[in-house]
């Protein structure tokens, strides 16, 4: 008789309750989707050959950092007393992220090429999970925009 950790049932229910089918669009991201210029178009305009935008790998790294290693070899190996539940909440497990990415892309970002779609799905997931909110992201985008586009 195999013992499955009962926490799994909790998690399973939680994932089901996330009701991804009832997710809503994020207007900030819809804006980016409609107005943003994708790498394929930029390449064509500027005659650049590189198949990937310069931020592709930093995006991958962000996804990896959020996952902290799929099986949580970092946090889970600490003794219970040393584990920090707040820290654990901050992780965005790789399988969960990919599952949501598949669903969000299908629902909102199907027309967007890769890796722009991965980026939009990641931002969407992070907002849904309360890792940051839409206003914070909008403000930070403005800041970054000014920084990059100032003389």
């Amino acid at each position: 008789m195999a013992e499955i950790n009962p926490k799994y049932h909790e998690l399973d229910n939680e994932m089901r309750e996330r009701k991804l089918d009832e997710s809503t669009p994020v207007s900030l991201l819809e804006d980016v989707k409609h107005k943003g210029r994708v790498w394929d178009d930029l390449c064509e305009e500027y005659g650049v050959d590189n198949p990937d935008p310069p931020w592709r790998i930093t995006l991958e790294a962000t996804c990896d950092m959020l996952a902290g290693g799929y099986w949580e070899t970092f946090n889970v190996c600490k003794p219970k007393e040393e584990r920090n539940p707040e820290e654990e909440e901050k992780k965005l497990d790789a399988v969960e992220r990919r599952w949501e990415e598949d669903k969000l892309v299908e629902k909102y970002y199907e027309q967007v090429p890769f890796p722009e779609r991965q980026l939009l799905a990641l931002a969407h997931t992070m907002i849904r999970r309360g890792l940051f909110d839409e206003e914070e992201l909008a403000r930070r985008m403005e800041e970054v925009d000014q920084r990059l586009n100032s003389a």
């Binding site: 943003g36 790294a61 962000t62 990896d64 992780k91 890796p115 980026l119 992201l137 970054v144 925009d145």
Partner: protein, 231 residues
């Protein structure tokens, strides 16, 4: 009079997507989800990764039966000989997050063709093969390859005789896989470099077979699926 050196073309504008990526990352760091230092180290490491070491591993295996044996028995040890250390890479020194340290090299024979997929999430042997291609990550590939492998392979232009065993390797746990294809005809007397050149990333995933003269992956146009994935 020497010709003026023309600068390589560059994309001269900042797109919203680039801004978004930076904003997401900076917010994440500000919220303490990870540190800027860890992220930078990881990014630098990832920039070093690509498919060449895996291609060389295959070329070496073709040239040396003893090395081929080692590759099949102990992929991690064999990787060291092409300069890839699955264990001591950044940032943990016990393997990279989500790539782990168990490379398995799948040896094709004239009667056995391997092709790799990760149905759950698109795990990929990044330390030796670099970043995964877009199509590898799509539900279209992941859900259909296990179910209709020959149809999916046909879409990639690969047809196999009925009596060849097509073995789909579903990479769902800690092992990561590359395919060691059959050495093609017409390569007698070739050097390791020449052989490595025809072992493309698609050959290492298993959706293509190496051919003399073919040194690049096919471009993948978006095509309607023969058996589309229905949700």
């Amino acid at each position: 009079m020497a010709e003026k050196h023309k600068p390589a073309p560059m994309v001269d504008e900042v797109s919203e997507f680039e801004v978004l990526e930076i904003a997401v990352r900076e917010l994440a760091i500000e919220k303490g989800l990870f540190s800027a230092e860890d992220h930078q180290r990881w990014t630098e490491y990832m920039h070093t990764l690509g498919p060449l070491p895996a291609a060389r591993l295959v070329a070496k295996a073709w040239l040396d039966p003893e090395f081929k044996k080692l590759a099949v028995e102990d992929g991690v040890k064999a990787s060291l000989e092409v300069g890839i250390d699955w264990v001591n890479s950044m940032p943990t020194h016990f393997g990279t997050p989500s790539d782990y340290c168990n490379l398995r090299v799948l040896e094709d024979t004239p009667k056995l063709k391997h092709v790799v997929v990760c149905t759950l999430c698109s795990c990929y042997p990044r330390p030796i093969l670099g970043q995964s291609p877009e199509w590898y990550r799509t539900p279209n590939y992941r859900r259909r390859l296990v179910r209709w492998p020959r149809q999916v392979l046909a879409e990639f232009g690969l047809q196999l005789p009925d009596d060849v065993e097509v073995r789909v390797e579903d990479s769902n746990q800690k092992s990561r896989f590359i395919v060691l294809p059959v050495r093609p005809e017409g390569t007698e007397g070739w050097s390791e470099d020449q052989l490595a050149e025809i072992v493309t990333r698609d050959c290492l995933i298993g959706v293509a077979v190496p051919k003399p003269g073919k040194t690049a992956n096919d471009p993948r146009p978006v095509r309607p699926a023969v058996n589309p994935y229905h949700h």
